[in-house]
């Protein structure tokens, strides 16, 4: 672990921000004000943050339908995101994209993606650009256990390896794709072994543990940033909420989520680890918690009262020129 105090505080803040963002959305969803699909990332924060804390704005990530966590970890503006999810004119995508299409190219964020498996090929392309530029930047894609069965993802594994581009594949096995268990849909079960079949080194991580993910990502980056071609991080984790908001999760055993929340929560684990090691005192973390809570509240209140787009906006942003 090579993280100084500031880095630790920042990682914690980011994980907490994701958590509060999602918990708040979960509550707000019940008001009926939020339109469309919302897939919450709560529970998986250690993965997004453990990965993205290694990256700068010049590194690229390609996300999924469950993208809020990746966006926040990559530095997207939380206020702009909240407004986007509320479909507001000054949302991060002017209300045109919504939860499933949040993107911020200036932050190296190539977009959430409502097509499962859409991201990894796109990240291969960003990695081609990074390789050509030769400045040591990388591209990262996130994929779930379900997405790992999509042909596009498997093509991307092969192509990244063939082209030896600086690309990290992050796999987040949260046990479910929609209402179906990975125990059923993921043949071979060990996704890491599948990836190794393409000649790509895999670094396994405990997706509940920030430090485990951070270390796996470090090792993967050592390969990718040094001309060794792609590498993968394989993290097992869980999601706290349903597949989308409204999912009763009747495919999960009673108490499953509660048990994870109690025993494996990434924030609780992080807090215990850094306080017990005497690196940071609880008060500093409490302060962050309070701060984040306020920030999310501000963002939510602002989003609710922000102006919607106007009908004329439908017609803009299709082409640069036509």
């Amino acid at each position: 672990m090579q993280l100084n105090r500031d880095a630790l505080l920042q990682a914690y803040r980011r994980m907490r921000t994701i958590r509060e963002f999602e918990e708040r959305l979960h509550i707000e969803n019940r008001t009926g004000e939020i339109a469309g699909f919302t897939h919450l990332y709560a529970g998986q924060e250690a993965v997004a943050v453990g990965v993205c804390e290694h990256l700068t704005d010049k590194d690229w990530i390609a996300s999924t339908h469950r993208g809020h966590g990746h966006c926040i970890a990559k530095g997207c503006d939380v206020g702009g995101m909240m407004k986007e999810i509320y479909g507001r004119a000054d949302g991060l995508c002017k209300g045109k994209g919504g939860s499933m299409h949040i993107a911020d190219l200036d932050k190296g964020m190539l977009g959430a993606n409502a097509i499962v498996g859409g991201g990894p090929p796109i990240a291969v392309g960003a990695a081609i650009a990074a390789k050509l530029a030769g400045e040591g930047h990388v591209a990262v894609s996130f994929t779930g256990d379900g997405g790992s069965n999509q042909g596009t993802v498997l093509e991307a594994l092969n192509m990244a390896a063939v082209l030896k581009v600086p690309k990290i594949f992050v796999f987040e096995n949260n046990g479910y794709s929609e209402h179906t268990g990975a125990a059923y849909a993921l043949a071979g079960q060990d996704l890491g072994r599948r990836v190794e079949g393409f000649g790509i080194p895999v670094f396994r991580a405990d997706g509940f543990d920030f430090f485990s993910v951070y270390e796996a990502m470090r090792q993967a980056l050592e390969i990718a940033r040094n001309g060794g071609g792609p590498a993968a991080v394989y993290a097992t984790c869980t999601r706290y909420f349903g597949h989308f908001e409204g999912d009763p999760q009747n495919y999960r055993a009673k108490g499953e989520v509660e048990k994870f929340r109690e025993e494996s929560d990434c924030l609780t684990g992080f807090r215990a680890r850094v306080t017990e090691a005497g690196l940071i005192d609880a008060a500093a973390l409490d302060a962050i918690d309070a701060d984040v809570l306020a920030e999310i509240d501000t963002a939510t209140v602002a989003a609710k009262s922000a102006a919607p787009p106007t009908a004329a906006d439908v017609l803009t942003d299709v082409y640069i020129s036509y």
């Binding site: 499933m100 097509i115 009673k254 919607p308």
Partner: protein, 337 residues
């Protein structure tokens, strides 16, 4: 007659036909749901829109098959199962996902019979939800049926109400050619009278939803109830129109459309798709060729704009053609000569 939703009507058709014909199988993502889950509960989904609810308990997981997220292979497997003698009903969840399954639809299923010199039989139904109106944004809201209508070898069904949906789905499953079946997600909860038993609605026969004299409106899917709304308003002023719901875009009932235009002399085509190479332009072109002498005014086309489908409520409302635009189009063709 029982009044049920379009969703329930489709579900009834599936139950009926799976019970009647052991060759019918259903496959797709979460068509039952719960496989590999920790609760042990199957039918945890019954399809994301609930259309396949209950099938697994009656017909088992040999015939109601939950698949991984692998749309090319879902449709490919349906193709192979059809060639091998089954009658698969594959679910694509969202029509927009054709992008990752298109080859198996348009190069394989659609072409087997022709490429193989008439030997293949591909009795396959591909069901997919389509359309805007639920704020699902650009990748979960498209109409897609224009792509399918363009493809020789496919049949294309776009029901607008529960009665048609059930009868057309029964016809689709019994049809020996590949059928792409489009279900408007904003119509799943539309209610209507639906007989309990078995009945079929033939392909290529349009429904004359309303009769009138001043113009012909051709509308599809969700545009049908929208056109009815527009007509309710116009009727009050004494303006009446034929309202034609083609129900299948391939085969298309050209006759009914042309005959109506020969009576009214005016045509409005309403399609939720963007305008270019749409079913609206297709029908307009057919009438411009074959019904030209009957036309008294320019054809009017009411479609979505040439843009992706936006997310925000205000934007999506502006995007989807609605009763107001249909009404305006009728007024325009009437004013126009």
């Amino acid at each position: 007659m029982p009044v049920i939703t379009l969703r329930e009507a489709l579900n009834e058709a599936l139950h009926l036909e799976m019970a009647r014909d052991p060759r019918v199988i259903v496959l797709g993502e979460d068509v039952s749901g719960g496989a590999g889950g920790t609760s042990g509960q199957r039918d945890a989904a019954g399809g994301i829109f609930g259309v396949t609810k209950g099938l697994i308990h009656k017909f088992g997981d040999g015939r109601v098959i939950d698949t991984p997220i692998s749309e090319s292979c879902i449709i490919g497997a349906a193709n192979g199962a059809a060639l091998a003698g089954l009658r698969p009903v594959a679910e694509l969840m969202f029509a927009d996902f054709v992008g990752v399954a298109m080859d198996q639809i348009f190069n394989q299923a659609a072409k087997f019979r022709y490429m193989f010199g008439g030997k293949a039989r591909t009795p396959l139904v591909i069901r997919m939800s389509f359309g805007a109106g639920m704020n699902c944004a650009a990748q979960h809201s498209q109409t897609i049926y224009p792509f399918m209508t363009a493809v020789p070898g496919l049949k294309v069904v776009v029901p607008s109400n529960p009665y048609d949906a059930k009868g057309l789905l029964l016809t689709a499953i019994r049809d020996d050619d590949p059928v792409v079946f489009f279900e408007h997600k904003a119509l799943y909860s539309r209610k209507g009278e639906v007989p309990d038993g078995d009945y079929m609605i033939p392909f290529g026969e349009a429904a004359l939803v309303r009769e009138g004299e001043h113009a012909t409106i051709v509308a599809l899917g969700r545009m049908v109830p929208f056109a009815e709304k527009a007509l309710d308003k116009l009727n009050a002023e004494g303006i009446t129109c034929d309202l034609i719901d083609p129900r299948t875009t391939s085969p298309l009932d050209e006759e009914t459309i042309l005959e109506s235009v020969s009576n009214t002399g005016r045509l409005i085509v309403v399609d939720e798709s963007p305008p270019r190479c749409s079913v609206a332009s297709d029908i307009a072109a057919i009438v411009a060729q074959k019904g030209f002498r009957d036309l008294k005014a320019p054809i009017e086309i009411v479609t979505a704009p040439h843009t992706p489908v936006p997310f925000a409520r205000e934007l999506e409302r502006a995007y989807v053609p609605g009763p107001a635009q249909i009404e305006a189009a009728v007024r325009k063709v009437l004013a126009d000569g």
